[in-house]
């Protein structure tokens, strides 16, 4: 085949990323690649599924349509191919469907781990922990750490110390919440940086030394010196007051406390810090300057360093404390959870990372790449020649470090048998919080081209097949305004953005539409404007798709409700809904369960009684907590939560005549209960916790306004998009939490619990770090806006508040500055006139899409008749197992006795011995006709029975023609039921003509029957079954039941007991 270039595609939004990927896939096939040797990885399983569907559709289209075949052949540079070739290709791909390597990165990693468990120190298969399970595990680990039955274990002592340090000077009284918070916020950081020296280590943070820790001299001397010096100076009263306040506050302040009266002077001193250190500072106090003498400078510097250094020390200490807390936790967690084969996806990934010493998979130089690849290929039943990576901007450095060695080899392959291809858009890097790393793209490009010059080609795609010209105009105006952006975001954020930006073009120049920036002051007004626009455009009635994009899930839920409620629009929040608790029914059901399990929970009990469940309880005669506890706990333990819930719903719903929404929630509640049952737990508290956090995504449905977050809209396109949620604080705000500094190789250099702004901005290292974080945040926010603004095909409406005077670079400001939209003006959208600042395109564009009748949505299967008429029923009979069961009551304890099982063994053994006996003669011992090798209680019993005179008739061959059935199974239809059973022993006698004249059923009973009363009881117990047997024998012998006798053989008593006919 023709050697393929390695390619990196920089695909702008809407430029046909999937199209490029699928073309590439087809090109590989056309070049002779086997489908199962192409590894195509993306981030979500949904995307992987769509990718596959697209490939098939593309090939199927080309296989059946010559024009499509020609176009495709052209694009993949294989003009010789025609329909027949594509048909063969289609067969090959579908035939290899189960072996295709189309999936997610997570899935691929999990598969590798699954194939190398022992290499990775796992026992065998592992379970991927889902949200609820992970929470339960966390609680268990904490309980384990907390439990104490004797003295304090050293690890516990250590933990307490660590915790004290982590909360330094702030005596927390709620440990649980605090710890949960630590784990939520810092656990991933800990796993990325497990080493003690990475946390709160001044030598790493300030490798060249920190000014705060290096000031000599006693503090008290410095204070005295400065006070003395100031006393001699000419100062205003205001200034004296400031100084006095400062000195008064100094002794009471300790690190960790609010600065209070210290703040003013500290701030001013830090403002001139370098000069202060240099011994030549002019300090502003009470709006007047004081030129300090070198001695005064030194003294003040000493005092400032004490304060700042003190706070820094405290933060270092806290950081180390947090690390120690996390380490204590992780030790227990590792030993009890990961070792037991319960892993999160990030655990899976970490197992494979080179630093973790993974399965010779990514150990680079130390291992022969070829052999390593072969081993992976062998274990995974797959050899990979070609790599296709999607959404590359979201790949994390960790993920890349795993793939790197596998792909290095490909890129170095000079024969062109193997290839590498990736697609991404660093302008859509909105997953930095998931470690997505937009820098990788360029790094890899440089890396490979340095390794093999010209190895990789980069190709930008800037033609949008999605957005019409007015939309592209707006996108270009906002994101191509390099100077404005550089001014708003000086530094690396705008530099990176401007370096990757390429002006977009619309590949659908005839696509008419409108892009506009509108104004509305409050959130309520923005929502109202959203509703008005949708009511004006009527996209759904015109067969257009429509979305409203917001930034938070909660907003999506609320806004969708708003649109449904006030506009009666079919709006669906594609956010995760807490379906079990967001409505009265679910809350009441949970209260019911709690009231049952915790009879002291008067809140739950009263709650239930405020609901229609009260009437159900009354009708069920559940009047006291007592009754409720017994009833509900009994149900839960017998049948699990789902069926318990179903049972209560069955009692409640008929009284309620519930609305459609409540019915949906009822179903969802029961289904969630079913999921919980799968965990095997019967614990009500766990159940309640599970249900409270259980979330369900509203179903994607036809002809609805989809309200979702920008993150979820990634990869999607809609005819109409409204963007009403772009307010908020500066784009540069960094995420809260610890500061984590990484080096080039993305290894964590240091971690620090950052001190407040005043302190950190005075420190060059920390302020540089914060600036970097801010730049990253800013870049990510720009990406978010870019994603949002590139979803629309025809109509895009941004609604923000006017930027106002604030200088901070928030979204409204970015939009207004880049669009140079200073003057408010009326913007027309259809017949509406709205306040706005910018508009392009045709306000009446929607009229080209005529309104049409609402299509009947979705036909219920019940509507059509699914039954086929005139079928012949296959025979189905109730099965009847003649059971040995005692009718009536039975002592339960007997069922649990081990001896019972011994008796059963004994019985089986005796039966087996009897089965060997055809006929046995008179009880002379010799004529028994058996030779039993083993002796034992069963043999003794059997022999005794053979010898017992009272049982002679059982074994004796009758005169005349006779046969014996031993342990004979039968199948029969009796009284319309199918009956299966086994005869112990039946003696069948025939007349000369061969007709059966008599049959005798002997049924062996080896249990403890000793008294006459026992005998009578045994006969009573078994007569039902044996009279049935009598009828069976009647049929089988053809002699009728009248000719069949039936008796028990009581082996203990060595006598028979006749079963009376009924």
């Amino acid at each position: 085949m023709k050697p393929l270039r390695h390619e990196m595609i920089l695909a702008s939004a809407g430029s046909g990323k999937t199209f490029a990927l699928t073309d590439r896939f087809v090109a590989l096939l056309a070049g002779g690649a086997k489908p199962e040797r192409i590894m195509a990885l993306t981030f979500t399983r949904k995307a992987a599924g769509e990718f596959f569907d697209e490939i098939l559709k593309k090939i199927a289209g080309a296989a059946s349509n010559p024009a499509q075949a020609a176009a495709l052949a052209e694009r993949i540079d294989a003009p010789q191919l025609g329909c027949a070739d594509f048909l063969a290709m289609l067969r090959a791909v579908t035939g290899a469907m189960h072996r295709l390597r189309l999936g997610t990165l997570d899935g691929f990693f999990a598969q590798v781990v699954r194939s190398f468990p022992l290499e990775l120190g796992l026992t065998g298969d592992f379970e991927v922990l889902q949200e609820h399970a992970a929470r339960v595990e966390r609680q268990r680990v904490l309980q384990r750490m907390f439990a104490r039955t004797g003295g304090l274990a050293p690890a516990q002592q250590e933990f307490i110390e660590a915790f004290k340090r982590a909360t330094f000077g702030r005596e927390e009284k709620r440990l649980g919440a605090q710890l949960d918070g630590f784990l939520d916020d810092f656990q991933e950081t800990f796993l990325a940086a497990p080493l003690r020296e990475q946390w709160g280590n001044p030598a790493r943070i300030w490798p060249d030394g920190s000014p705060w820790f290096e000031h000599e001299g006693k503090l008290s001397d410095a204070i005295a010196e400065l006070q003395a010096a100031l006393a001699l100076r000419e100062l205003t009263d205001g200034q004296r007051g400031r100084w006095a306040t400062f000195f008064a506050a100094l002794p009471t302040w300790a690190p960790g406390m609010e600065l209070g009266d210290l703040e003013y002077m500290l701030k001013n001193a830090l403002a001139v810090w370098p000069a202060l250190e240099a011994g030549d500072a002019v300090l502003t106090v009470d709006r007047k300057k004081i030129a300090l003498e070198p001695g005064e400078c030194a003294a003040l510097a000493r005092i400032v360093a004490e304060i700042v250094g003190g706070e820094m020390q405290r933060r270092l200490e806290t950081t180390r404390g947090i690390h120690a807390v996390l380490r204590s936790y992780d030790e227990v967690y590792h030993a009890t959870v990961r070792r037991a084969g319960k892993l999160t996806f990030s655990d899976v990934q970490r197992l494979l990372m080179p630093a973790a010493g993974g399965p010779r998979l990514a150990q680079g130089d130390a291992f022969d790449d070829e052999a390593q690849r072969l081993q992976i290929d062998y274990r995974l039943d797959a050899e990979t020649d070609h790599w296709l990576l999607d959404e590359f901007q979201d790949t994390s450095f960790g993920q890349w470090s795993i793939l790197r060695n596998l792909i290095d080899e490909v890129v170095q392959d000079t024969e062109g048998r193997r290839s590498f291809f990736c697609v991404g858009d660093v302008k859509q890097a909105v997953f930095a919080w998931r470690e997505g790393d937009p820098q990788l793209f360029q790094e890899i490009y440089r890396h490979y081209n340095a390794m093999v010059p010209g190895a990789i080609e980069q190709r930008p795609l800037v033609d949008s097949w999605r957005s019409g010209p007015p939309l592209i105009e707006m996108v270009n105006a906002v994101f191509g305004a390099d100077e404005v952006l550089a001014e708003l975001f000086p530094g690396s954020a705008s530099a990176l953005w401007n370096s990757v930006w390429r002006a977009h073009t619309s590949a659908v120049p005839k696509r008419n539409g409108q892009a506009a920036l509108l104004h509305a002051e409050t959130e309520e007004e923005r929502w109202a404007a959203t509703l008005r626009i949708l009511q004006e455009l009527k996209p759904l009635e015109r067969g257009l798709t429509c979305a409203v994009l917001v930034r938070k899930n909660a907003t999506a839920t609320a806004l969708a409700d708003y649109l449904r409620h006030y506009g009666h629009l079919p709006a669906v929040a594609e956010s995760d809904l807490h379906v079990c608790t967001d409505n009265p029914l679910g809350a009441a059901l949970l209260a019911l369960m709690r009231a049952a399990a915790q009879p002291g929970d008067t809140l739950a009990w009263e709650h239930v009684h405020m609901t229609p469940l009260a009437a159900v309880l009354a009708a069920e005669n559940i009047l006291y907590p007592e009754n409720l506890t017994e009833r509900v706990l009994g149900q839960i333990h017998a049948d699990g939560f789902e069926r318990t819930v179903e049972a209560w719903l069955a009692l409640l719903l008929p009284r309620l005549q519930p609305d459609a929404f409540t019915q949906v929630r009822a179903r969802q509640f029961a289904a969630a209960a079913g999921l919980f049952d799968a965990t095997g737990s019967r614990d009500v508290a766990e159940f309640v916790a599970f249900m409270a956090t259980h979330r369900v995504r509203d179903a994607e449905s036809a002809a609805v306004v989809r309200v979702m977050t920008v993150h979820k809209s990634k990869g999607l396109g809609f005819d109409v998009v409204v963007l009403p949620d772009w307010e908020g604080q500066t784009l540069e705000s960094r995420r809260d939490g610890l500061a984590v500094a990484k080096n080039e190789e993305r290894e964590v250099e240091w971690v620090l619990d950052l001190p407040p702004t005043l302190f950190r901005s005075a420190d060059p290292v920390l302020s540089a770090h914060v600036a970097e974080e801010k730049a990253d945040a800013c870049y990510e926010n720009l990406s978010l806006l870019y994603v949002a603004m590139t979803r629309a095909k025809r109509g895009m409406y941004l609604i923000t508040k006017p930027p106002g005077k604030s200088a901070s670079a928030n979204f409204p400001r970015v939009l207004h500055a880049t669009l140079e939209a200073d003057e408010a003006m009326p913007v027309r959208v259809g017949q509406l006139e709205l306040e706005g600042v910018w508009s392009a395109g045709d306000p009446d564009w929607h009229l080209a899409h005529p309104l049409h009748e609402a299509e009947p949505t979705h036909s219920e299967p019940a509507a059509e008749s699914l039954a086929v008429a005139g079928l012949v029923q296959a025979p189905r009979r109730p099965a009847r197992r003649p059971s040995d069961e005692h009718a009536g009551e039975l002592a339960a304890a007997k069922l649990f006795a081990l001896e019972g099982r011994g008796a059963a063994d004994f019985g089986t053994a005796v039966h087996a011995l009897f089965e060997e006996v055809e006929w046995a003669g008179p009880a002379d011992g010799a004529g028994l006709g058996v030779k039993w090798a083993e002796s034992g209680p069963a043999t003794a019993e059997a022999l005794a029975c053979l010898r017992a005179p009272e049982l002679a008739a059982v074994w004796a061959r009758p005169a005349g023609a006779a046969e014996v059935w031993r342990e004979r199974a039968f199948e029969i239809v009796l009284d319309g039921a199918w009956l299966t059973g086994v005869f112990d022993r039946v003696v069948v006698e025939r007349d000369a003509a061969g007709r059966v004249v008599r049959a005798t059923i002997w049924d062996f009973k080896t249990d403890r029957v000793e008294t006459e009363a026992d005998v009578a009881a045994a006969v009573a117990r078994h007569s039902g079954q044996l009279n049935l047997y009598r009828r069976v024998a009647g049929v089988l012998t053809g002699a009728g039941e009248g000719a069949v006798d039936c008796a028990l053989v009581l082996t203990r008593l060595r006598r028979p007991a006749v079963i009376p006919r009924n």
Binding site: M97, L152, L380, S701, A867, A969, E971, I972
Partner: protein
């Protein structure tokens, strides 16, 4: 040279009608009735146990139609066949497991590095047992092809990459065999292989038939091939298809891989459903469309996700359903009781007691032992109270605080569990628990318990036997193992008359209902996919001659063809519906089964377009609708309240009603540390003691005060929580100590400044507007010189609070509170949020008629902020306003004014949040409190 065995004889039963009746007739041969249909000397191999059951039923039916009954043949599935005729010394499953665990536990860290490159955790029992199970599974997989671990390296060929690893595994297996041999046992798989080679399985039969079994185990075939009887192979396919099957009736893989599957009216029969719920809905709809579905329609489910949904769907529609696979005992009541007992046996932690206490059978026992006086609800409440008040670590600790018969019985049960050895202690404990119980096996619930009990006893029996050979597991280990074995046992369920069975894919060949609906026809489900096995990748399976994916595909292609042909083949009327999903329940994409693509090449593009289309979208979701408003019980307003509750009324009268009148209070079943109230109470106890102690009142030495306070705190903590504080408590107590230590400093200063504690915990009652208010004043100080009085309340909240800020809050623009709540403070309008300190002053007005100051003694978490916060500018006017507000509040409470709720309460801090959805007022149908206001 080996004996030359006779080739099997193949017979074809046409697939234009169902298999079952044909098969019965074929096996009956020329039998006409008159005598029983005696097939007892025949061995019949069928695909599964369930199909065997079906076949025996068909035989009964066949005989009945001729007025007779049958002595049935021995009907076995392949895995039973290979177990026939194994030698007596075959190791039971449990012994094999323990033997493996023995071997693995004996390994040294670096041993067998080719098998365990990451090393072996020496002596780790859990690891050993898990690994043992893994190796047993591996042995079983190999034995299907007649192989053992030791055979692999040689069989796989010299060019095989993992030679060393398998050599290591062979070495392990040799050790395992040796351990078994030392106990006179032999590995079960080895025994099967030997028996198969000897052809022992068929020894006691005259005739051997392989009936409609397209996929017997290779080992089963080997067993049949090794014996001398001629085997009849009955193939469900027309004679014309004879080339499509091999001599054992297996579909020829190469042929079926490509052949077209004839499915008439494809697009009508094959239905795309969005997700499992949609598949279940569709299948259920078909079943519901028949008045009596059983026997007319059959449901096959190839996707395990669909089965429970379909079950629920049908159950809701009133169609009886039945899962022939049975339910694992793990879901049964007994299993949960047993795991609670096992936990209690291992450790008498309080959590284990709580879990056990919620097992109905245990509660039954308590009732039996204690008699009519026993109340489960009271007992559970007692446990909750114990947890809330004392956070007991274990049973003994709980018993220290509650002298309860129930807890004593738990103790008794635990002693039983720990007397003697497993399993006898377990037996004794259960005998005790069920001592007084009578079961009526005709009752469903009792029958289930009986069935569980039997299965459990079986397990214990096996354990007792195994323990004699392999004792080294430890009590907890045996419990775990027994529970696991018991949990995995399936509880066989009888099919209720008329119930529809939910059958697995492999059962459907024997299904004879004319209308068949199969759900879950997705790739990976049918055919099922085996990928990425850590030991047996597909390439190795091929080398070893084990069942391959290609063979699975051929089998499933054949099954689908036969299922469709016998319904739509023309001889009898019928229909087949095939459902497949677009996504899983989690929304992950699914693909249609490859079987559905087995069409002529020319049809493939259209077929692909049809199968891979988007599903119809679900109808729109209904808008949020309130199912009901809550109707709170109408109770009379209280006659007496505490001072602190007034704050609650001011914050929200409705929540006051819930809290104070209806006394609604939730229980935190997971409480594991002090809550704010506990924390305060502990600190208060020490502070009160300080105030009561003559010497301390006059003490000005912080160190002495500190020592005293800490000693009192420790005593209070010990009295309430015992000596072994759990970790969170240790940390919390440390925090309390820190705060009290700071109090000592402040107290020493205050005393030195002349302030002497005059009274502590001074109780009072006062009536205002007909409402009695009671309270307790933490502390009253008098200045030694000036005689000034100040009233102090200790506050242990996290941040220091100022009295005025706590008592007066800003007024929101949109609210219109009653005028008596408002007060002008300087130029600002404020509303009373609390009335505690004014009421203290009011209550002690007679006692201290002079000027009185009041305030807080704060013990916040920032210890620097510890100290007094006095209400300095508390004026007479302010006091008058406060008293007016108090009058207003009291009158309102007496008048039953509890409406409307405050809409501005932060949901995260609202103890009643669960009652409210989209607005507190909107959630409630308020009818007022009960009238008549008691005395």
């Amino acid at each position: 040279m080996a004996r030359v065995m006779p080739s099997p004889r193949r017979h074809f039963l046409p697939w234009d009608r169902p298999l079952l009746p044909q098969a019965a007739a074929w096996l009956a041969g020329g039998w006409e009735g008159g005598a029983p249909l005696d097939l007892s000397r025949t061995l019949v191999l069928v695909p599964t146990r369930q199909s065997g059951r079906r076949f025996r039923e068909a035989l009964a039916e066949y005989a009945a139609a001729r007025g007779q009954a049958a002595f049935p043949p021995r009907v076995v599935a392949p895995n039973t066949l290979v177990a026939l005729g194994v030698a007596e010394d075959t190791a039971p499953a449990l012994e094999s497991l323990l033997a493996w665990a023995d071997v693995l536990r004996g390994l040294e860290r670096g041993e067998l590095g080719d098998v365990f490159p990451a090393g072996v955790p020496e002596g780790d029992v859990t690891w050993a047992l898990q690994m043992a199970q893994q190796l047993l599974r591996l042995q079983a997989a190999l034995a299907e092809g007649g192989l053992r671990l030791g055979d692999v390296a040689a069989r796989a060929g010299a060019d095989f990459a993992e030679q060393m690893r398998w050599a290591g595994l062979a070495e392990l297996e040799a050790r395992y065999d040796a351990v078994l041999a030392a106990h006179g046992l032999r590995d079960a798989q080895a025994a099967k292989i030997t028996a198969a080679q000897a052809g022992a399985a068929t020894a006691e039969f005259d005739r051997v038939v392989v009936l409609g079994t397209p996929d017997p185990l290779p080992l089963a075939i080997a067993a049949l091939a090794a014996q001398e009887k001629v085997v009849d192979v009955v193939i469900f396919a027309p004679e014309s298809e004879s080339g499509s099957f091999d001599e054992w009736g297996r579909p020829v893989a190469e042929l079926w891989a490509r052949r077209e599957i004839a499915l008439g009216a494809f697009e009508d029969r094959v239905k795309l459903c969005a997700d499992p719920a949609a598949q279940a809905g569709r299948a259920a709809a078909v079943a519901r469309s028949y008045a009596v579905p059983d026997g007319l329609v059959a449901l096959g489910v190839a996707d395990p996700e669909v089965a429970p949904l379909l079950h629920g769907e049908l159950a809701r529609a009133g169609v009886a359903v039945f899962n022939p696979e049975g339910q694992p005992q793990r879901g049964e009541q007994l299993w949960h009781l047993l795991s609670a007992l096992a936990a209690l046996a291992r450790e008498a932690s309080f959590a284990h007691v709580e879990a056990l206490a919620r097992c109905p059978d245990f509660l039954h026992w308590l009732r039996a032992r204690i008699g009519a006086g026993f109340s489960p609800a009271k007992f559970l409440k007692q446990l909750d109270d114990l947890r809330a008040d004392h956070l007991p670590a274990d049973l003994a600790e709980a018993q220290r605080h509650a002298d309860s018969r129930e807890l004593a019985l738990v103790g008794e049960l635990r002693r039983l569990l720990r007397t003697g050895e497993f399993p006898h202690n377990a037996v004794a404990a259960l005998a005790e628990i069920f001592a007084a119980r009578k079961l009526d096996l005709m009752r469903d619930a009792d029958a289930r318990l009986g069935e569980s009990a039997r299965a459990w006893t079986e397990v214990l029996h096996a354990c007792a036997a195994a323990k004699e050979r392999f004792p080294a597991l430890g009590e907890a280990g045996w419990w775990d193992l027994a529970l696991q074995l018991f949990g995995d046992t399936a509880r066989a369920v009888e099919k209720p008359p008329g119930a529809l069975e939910l059958q697995g894919w492999l059962e459907l060949l024997y299904e004879d209902a004319p209308h068949l609906v199969v759900a879950g026809l997705n790739d990976g489900r049918v055919p099922d996919a085996v990928t990425g096995d850590a030991f047996l990748p597909e390439s190795l399976r091929v080398r070893l001659g084990l069942k391959t994916n290609a063979a699975r595909f051929a089998r499933d292609a054949y099954l689908l063809q036969a299922m469709a042909a016998c319904r739509e083949g023309g001889a009898v009327a019928g229909r087949i519906d095939l459902l497949y999903g677009k996504t899983t329940a989690d929304g992950d994409p699914l693909r249609p089964s490859r079987l559905l693509l087995q069409c002529a090449d020319a049809a493939l593009p259209a077929r692909v377009a049809f199968l891979f289309r988007e599903p119809e979208l679900a109808a729109e979701t209904p808008a949020w609708t309130r199912a009901w408003q809550l109707a709170p019980r109408r109770a009379e307003p209280p006659a007496k309240v505490s001072v602190t509750s007034l704050k609650g009324w001011l914050a929200c009268p409705f929540r006051f009603y819930l809290r104070t009148v209806l006394k609604m209070e939730s229980v935190d079943p997971a409480k594991s540390e002090l809550d704010a109230m506990d924390f305060g109470t502990l600190c208060h106890a020490a502070l009160e003691a300080m105030g009561r102690d003559e010497a301390m009142r006059d003490c000005t030495d912080a160190a002495t005060l500190r020592e005293f306070l800490l000693a009192k705190l420790d005593r209070a903590v010990r009295r309430r929580f015992g000596d072994n504080l759990a970790l969170p408590l240790l940390i919390q107590v440390a925090s309390a100590r820190q705060r009290l230590g700071q109090v000592a400093e402040v107290q020493a200063r205050e005393r030195a400044a002349g302030w002497v504690i005059e009274q502590v915990e001074q109780g009072f009652e006062t009536e205002i507007a007909g409402l009695v208010i009671r309270g307790k004043i933490d502390r009253v100080d008098r200045h030694r010189e000036t005689g000034a009085i100040r009233l102090l309340d200790y506050k242990t909240s996290d941040t220091a609070i100022a009295p005025q800020a706590a008592h007066l809050r800003p007024v929101r623009g949109d609210e219109t509170p009653p005028p008596w709540v408002l007060v002008e403070l300087g130029d600002k309008l404020r509303a009373w949020a609390d009335l505690q300190l004014p009421l203290y002053r009011h209550a002690l007005a007679a006692q201290f008629p002079g000027e009185v100051t009041c305030g807080y003694f704060n013990l916040p978490k920032a210890v620097g902020d510890t100290g007094l916060a006095l209400w300095e500018d508390y004026t007479r006017d302010l006091h008058a306003s406060a008293m007016a507000a108090t009058e207003g509040v009291c009158a309102a409470i007496r008048a039953g004014e509890f409406w409307p709720p405050n809409p501005h309460i932060d949901e995260r801090l609202d103890e009643f949040a669960e009652l409210f959805h989209r607005g507190a007022a909107e959630s409630i149908a308020w009818a007022g409190a009960a009238k008549g206001g008691g005395a």
